[in-house]
């Protein structure tokens, strides 16, 4: 069991090292990358099944006892996130190989991509705050390299913004760690859960707020989102897609984890989180409406969608958190698909600018379908996965009487649909001839995109079992007892 927990971190790191050694042979790098991620998908699914059956599992790396050693722990939330993230990483790697843009740009792409996978996995599996910091750094350092790999002028400019913002967040995280250790004397999450209740209310709330700001920057919530729409669109499509799907959601995961386990039930910042959620949703979607480039519209939508997840958490009920978990799963899949489709459009037509696109529904009907399904899903049109997730959230909100934020979320859905129709009308309808920069689409770009679209349809189809799983995850989170028991073994 402990091997299962360690594999998602050690395997990609080892594979990255081998991938550097065989850097001259592109095929070997490709085989290593795809084989590693495929193996990890299997490992994570086994882990999810076992965690769902037996409850949370933990392992102490190096044999040191729980509050002192390095704890790896998987509960239902972590296992679900791990499965979805690794699936995305695998699909996007295949897409990148098909597209060739980012992958051929530099021999470093494959190793760094695997390091990114290790960082993301470690973030989900780590059991203490300091290792969360280290995992974040592993993931972010890999993402710094990926976002600037081309070395183009706009990439360096946008990458600079991204790196500086992330570094400020990291410095703030370190500061928070110092405060947490000074006040509670431990950084182990399960241990902290017990000791936080003994702290004075003011100290506890200040620490929780600092953690919220730190992870809020990574998750791009209002008012800390400005870096995201600026830096994401310049990277190659495959890189943007994996960032859009995973990196901000890792921040959301950290928010969900810390705000539930560290704070006692009557002390959780419900109103604050709901206010942040409402502002994030509205500002994000308004930003999307003002944009005129496919990737930038989609980038603003990431911000908007983060608001829904924070809203679900902000209810702090089993139904609300379950809705948030389901929403995260839906969003990771759909958002990655949309960015991949955006890449297909750019590849086919030679540009992502709506002013210079048109008529793709005739020249590339497959791309049109691959865009339409996730776009409608993102807006929450039944019976797609977005509808299921939004319904769960709205239902949870109305049950507790949070009318205002629920109304905002419904309004934002309409505006989301509006900006999606803007892409549709600009890129797919109309009579524009394809520009000379366009190329035919390789099958290896289409297949992963189609597979992810099918996966998002699967989320809608198996919404019942998935929601039940999210509900079990939410119960664990709000209770916190199973997590603490798994780690401390009492």
């Amino acid at each position: 069991m402990s091997a299962l927990l360690a594999l998602p971190i050690t395997l990609p790191l080892g594979a990255a090292a081998v991938s550097i050694v065989v850097g001259r042979w592109r095929t070997a790098q490709r085989v290593i990358g795809v084989a590693t991620l495929s193996a990890l998908v299997v490992v994570s699914i086994v882990l999810l099944v076992r965690v769902d059956r037996d409850g949370a599992v933990a392992s102490q790396a190096g044999g040191w006892e729980a509050p002192f050693g390095i704890t790896l722990v998987a509960d239902r939330l972590a296992a679900v996130m791990l499965v979805v993230s690794l699936l995305m990483l695998l699909a996007v790697l295949l897409y990148a190989i098909g597209q060739g843009e980012a992958e051929l740009a530099h021999v470093g792409f494959h190793p760094v991509y695997l390091v990114l996978a290790a960082g993301v996995s470690a973030t989900f599996l780590t059991g203490d705050l300091f290792n969360l910091f280290v995992s974040f750094e592993v993931m972010l350092t890999a993402s710094y390299v990926l976002i600037t790999l081309g070395g183009r002028r706009d990439q360096v400019r946008a990458g600079m913004t991204y790196v500086v913002i992330s570094l400020v967040a990291s410095a703030l995280f370190l500061t928070t760690l110092g405060f947490v250790y000074a006040s509670a004397g431990t950084v182990n999450l399960a241990d902290l859960a017990g000791r936080f209740t003994d702290l004075p209310v003011g100290v506890r709330q200040a620490l929780a707020l600092l953690l919220l700001v730190v992870f809020g920057i990574k998750a791009a919530v209002f008012p800390l989102f400005f870096w995201l729409p600026d830096s994401y669109p310049t990277a190659p499509t495959a890189v943007t897609a994996v960032f859009a799907g995973l990196l901000t959601k890792v921040g959301v995961y950290a928010i969900i984890r810390t705000q539930t386990i560290l704070l006692p039930a009557d002390d959780r910042p419900a109103t604050l989180l709901l206010a942040i959620a409402g502002a994030t949703m509205v500002v994000g979607v308004l930003g999307a409406i003002a944009q005129n480039d496919i990737k930038r519209i989609l980038s603003f939508h990431i911000v908007s969608q983060i608001g829904y997840m924070i809203m679900g958490l902000g209810f702090f009920t089993v139904a609300g958190v379950a809705g948030a978990v389901l929403y995260v799963v839906h969003h990771i899949i759909v958002k990655t698909t949309l960015f991949l489709t955006g890449g297909l459009v750019e590849h086919r037509a030679g540009t992502g600018h709506l002013d210079r696109l048109g008529g793709l529904v005739r020249t590339a009907p497959v791309v049109a379908v691959l865009f339409l399904l996730p776009a409608l899903s993102l807006a929450g049109i039944p019976p797609l996965s977005g509808f299921v997730a939004k319904f769960a959230l709205v239902d949870a909100g109305l049950a507790d009487g949070w009318w205002l934020v629920v109304a905002a979320s419904l309004l934002v859905s309409v505006l989301t649909l509006f900006s999606m129709t803007k892409i549709w009308a600009g890129a797919f309808w109309g009579a524009r001839e394809p520009s000379p920069g366009g190329r035919p689409l390789p099958a290896l770009m289409l297949a992963p995109t189609a597979a992810l679209t099918a996966l998002s349809l699967g989320v809608a189809l198996f919404a019942g079992p998935l929601y039940a799983l999210s509900e079990r995850a939410a119960t664990d989170l709000l209770d916190g007892e199973t997590y603490v028991q798994a780690v401390l073994g009492e």
């Binding site: 750094e137 350092t141 600037t148 002028r153 790196v163 990291s170 410095a171 110092g178 944009q291």
Partner: protein, 160 residues
Amino acid sequence: MTVVLAATAAVLFGCGTFLLLQRQLTRVLVGLALLSHGANLLIVLAAGAPAEPTFVGEGRRGTLLDPLPQAFVLTAIVITFGVTSFLLALAYRSWLLTGDDEVQDDVEDRLVVTRWSAAEELADAEEAAAAVHGDDLAHHDSTLDGGGAPHRVPGEEVRR
């Protein structure tokens, strides 16, 4: 001792924040370095009052310093070192590409702004025209220019 260290951390944070807000990349870099030094110092402070160093087989129980924060700080220093050197390389690349040390604005952001201000200027001009020529002419103007003009913003050529 602790007060001096705490004050030092405060000064580091203050200077770091000030430098972060500058437009020159080198200053931003130095600011980030100062900021992380401040954070590291703070973690060292979290170990508590000064005590004997922690080595196996030396010192008495109860007089030893908590070694964990030092392990944290060592890890953090290594990470900061790596990322700072990456950022330096990026700054050098940026200087090679632009010949300038200033942080550049986002082109698309500027476009959105110019599109707005172009539309506003148009509305202002129409109001002025309405005041001079009467309502009929102004209505005529707006039907002519209102729809198409905002797309022909000055920054359009930058993208192409």
